[in-house]
C-alpha cells in the first residue's frame, strides 16, 4: 500500500469510520456538556485538535525513548501518559498566555478542561503503544510518528465534526416543536442515538 493511500485511510478511519464520539463512545462528557451552542463547541473542537496532536507526539516520544527501553511500559503507560498530558497542557497554557493572548482567550477554559479528557488519553495511547491501534490497516505492529500524527488528526477532526454537527442540531431543536416531555436533555439523547446510527453506517468502507 502506498504511503499516501495509507495516510488517507488512517485519516478517514479515525475521523469517520471509527468516530471517537459516535461509534466508540469515548469522551462523551463534552459531547453533551458543551454542545448547547455552536460557539462553545467550536472553541472546544479547536482546543481538542490542538491538545490531541501535542499529546500524541509527546506520548509517542516518551514511549519510544523512555518506557519501551526500560521495559516498564506495559503496566506504567497510564500514569506516565496522564502525567505527560497534564504537564504538557499546563506548559502550552503558559506559553500561549505569553506568546499569543488572542489564541489563549479563544481557547479559554477548554484548554485546562481537556487535560483529563478520556478521548485525549485514548488517542494518545493508541498512537504510542503497540497493540492498541485496532484499525485493519497494514501498518505493522506499531505506528510510526508520522502515521500516529495523521491518525490523531483524523480522530480529533472527527471529534470536532461530530460535536459541531450535534451542537447545530441542538440549536435547531431549540426552535422546533418538541413535545413538552421531550424538551431539552431527553430529545438531545434521542438525537445523539440517531446521529450515532448514521455514523455506524460508515463502517465497512474500505474494509475498515
Amino acid at each position: 500500500m502506498s504511503t499516501v493511500s495509507q495516510f488517507a485511510l488512517l485519516f478517514i478511519g479515525g475521523a469517520l469510520i471509527n468516530n471517537i464520539l459516535l461509534t466508540r463512545f469515548i469522551g462523551l462528557c463534552p459531547f453533551f456538556g458543551v454542545s448547547g451552542n455552536m460557539e462553545t463547541s467550536m472553541g472546544m473542537s479547536f482546543a481538542v485538535v490542538f491538545v490531541m496532536m501535542m499529546a500524541s507526539t509527546a506520548t509517542w516520544v516518551v514511549w519510544e525513548f523512555v518506557l519501551a527501553p526500560l521495559g516498564v511500559g506495559e503496566f506504567l503507560y497510564i500514569p506516565a501518559f496522564i502525567l505527560i498530558i497534564a504537564s504538557l497542557v499546563q506548559f502550552v497554557e503558559m506559553y500561549l498566555r505569553k506568546a499569543s493572548p488572542v489564541l489563549y482567550r479563544a481557547m479559554g477554559i477548554f484548554l485546562p478542561l481537556i487535560t483529563t479528557n478520556c478521548a485525549v488519553l485514548a488517542t494518545a495511547t493508541e498512537s504510542a503503544k503497540p497493540g492498541f491501534f485496532k484499525l485493519n490497516i497494514a501498518v505493522g505492529a506499531s505506528l510510526s510518528l508520522g502515521q500516529a500524527l495523521i491518525y490523531t488528526l483524523g480522530v480529533s477532526v472527527g471529534f470536532g465534526f461530530a460535536l459541531i454537527t450535534f451542537a447545530a442540531l441542538r440549536e435547531r431543536l431549540e426552535l422546533a416543536g418538541v413535545p413538552r416531555l421531550f424538551k431539552g436533555t431527553p430529545i438531545a439523547f434521542i438525537t445523539a442515538g440517531l446521529l450515532s446510527l448514521a455514523y455506524v453506517g460508515f463502517s465497512g468502507w474500505f474494509g475498515l
Partner: protein, 295 residues
C-alpha cells in the same frame, strides 16, 4: 528481578516527573506575564465570592476589566456602594452612584394555584419543571420547592407556609443568583427591581385571562382598576398584566387597596409598614388561600 523492575518503574516515573516539573518551573519564570498591581488591589476590594451577578465568570476577571477600563467601577452588584467607592479610589475614578436592586417574586400562587398532577419526585423546582412543565397549572407560577432558598448565598430567602419564597429586603443584595437558579427566572417569576420599589405585582401570567383564573385565585385579571385609581399614573395594564412603573410609583398603596384579586402588594423599604408586610405577604392572603383549598 522484580525488585529491578520496581526500581525501573519508579525511576521512569520520577524521571518523567522531574523533567516535566523542571520544564514547567522554568516556563513559569520564562513566560511570566506582568500583571498590573492595581488588578490585585481591586480583586482584594471585591467580595471574592465569584457570584457572577455582574455577568462575568469571576471576581478576578472583573478586576482585570475594571483596571483595563472596560468595566465600570460600580459593576459589582453584590458589593454595593461601599465596594464601588473603594474601587473608584484605587482607580482614581470619580465616585459612582450604585443603582442598587433587590429581588422580587412576581407570583402570589403557592397554595392558591391549582395542581394538574401529584408530583412525587425529587423535591426540586428544576426537576419538577422538567416533568411536563411542573405540577402547577400556571406555566408562569412558582413551583414552590425552594431552589431559590437553597441557592441564596446571603440567606435572604425563606419558603413560607403558602409554599412561596419570601425575600428579606434587608439581606437581599440583588446578586440575582436566585433569578438564574429558578427554572422560571427567565420568564420573570423572580425579577430584580429597584431597592426603593414600594409596590410589586404578584402575578406574571401571560396566558389568557380565563386560563389564569382557572389556574390561580390570585391571578391578575387585567380589570384595570389599579390603572384607573392610581393618582400618579404609575401602574399600567400591559398585554393583559399590571406592570408598575418604578420611575413614578410613590408607594401610596391605592392599587393595593383596590385590587380585587389581592395580587398587588407592598414591597421593599416602605416607611410605616411593619416587617411582615414589607417582606411581601399580602394583607389578607391566608383567607384567600383557605377558600381556594376548599374549592
Amino acid at each position: 528481578m522484580d525488585l529491578v523492575l520496581i526500581a525501573k518503574a519508579i525511576g521512569a516515573l520520577s524521571l518523567i516527573g522531574l523533567i516535566t516539573s523542571s520544564i514547567l518551573s522554568t516556563a513559569a519564570k520564562r513566560f511570566h506575564v506582568e500583571v498590573d498591581v492595581r488588578v490585585s488591589e481591586v480583586a482584594a476590594a471585591l467580595p471574592g465570592s465569584n457570584c457572577g451577578a455582574c455577568g462575568r465568570p469571576s471576581c478576578f476577571a472583573v478586576a482585570e476589566g475594571m483596571v483595563a477600563g472596560e468595566i465600570e467601577p460600580n459593576a459589582c452588584v453584590a458589593g454595593g456602594q461601599s465596594v464601588a467607592d473603594e474601587i473608584a479610589a484605587i482607580l482614581g475614578a470619580a465616585t459612582c452612584e450604585m443603582a442598587s436592586v433587590i429581588c422580587a417574586r412576581n407570583c402570589g400562587g403557592g397554595a392558591n394555584a391549582t395542581r394538574v398532577y401529584e408530583y412525587a419526585g425529587v423535591p426540586s423546582c428544576a426537576a419538577a419543571n422538567r416533568l411536563a412543565g411542573g405540577p402547577i397549572g400556571c406555566a408562569y407560577g412558582c413551583i414552590g420547592f425552594g431552589d431559590c432558598e437553597r441557592a441564596c448565598p446571603f440567606d435572604a430567602i425563606a419558603m413560607d407556609e403558602r409554599g412561596l419564597p419570601v425575600i428579606d429586603p434587608a439581606k437581599c443584595t440583588g446578586c440575582g443568583i436566585c433569578v438564574r437558579e429558578c427554572p422560571r427566572g427567565q420568564i420573570q417569576l423572580l425579577t430584580l427591581v429597584p431597592e426603593a420599589a414600594p409596590i410589586v405585582v404578584r402575578c406574571n401570567a401571560h396566558d389568557k385571562v380565563k386560563d389564569r383564573r382557572g389556574n390561580c385565585s390570585m391571578a391578575c385579571i387585567a380589570c384595570k382598576k389599579c390603572e384607573r385609581e392610581c393618582p400618579h399614573d404609575a401602574i399600567h395594564v400591559v398585554d393583559m398584566l399590571a406592570v408598575v412603573d418604578y420611575e413614578k410609583c410613590t408607594g401610596c398603596g391605592t392599587c393595593v387597596e383596590v385590587c380585587p384579586q389581592k395580587c398587588i402588594d407592598f414591597y421593599g423599604h416602605r416607611p410605616g409598614v411593619d416587617a411582615v408586610a414589607a417582606d411581601g405577604r399580602g394583607p389578607d392572603t391566608p383567607e384567600v388561600a383557605s377558600v381556594s383549598e376548599g374549592a
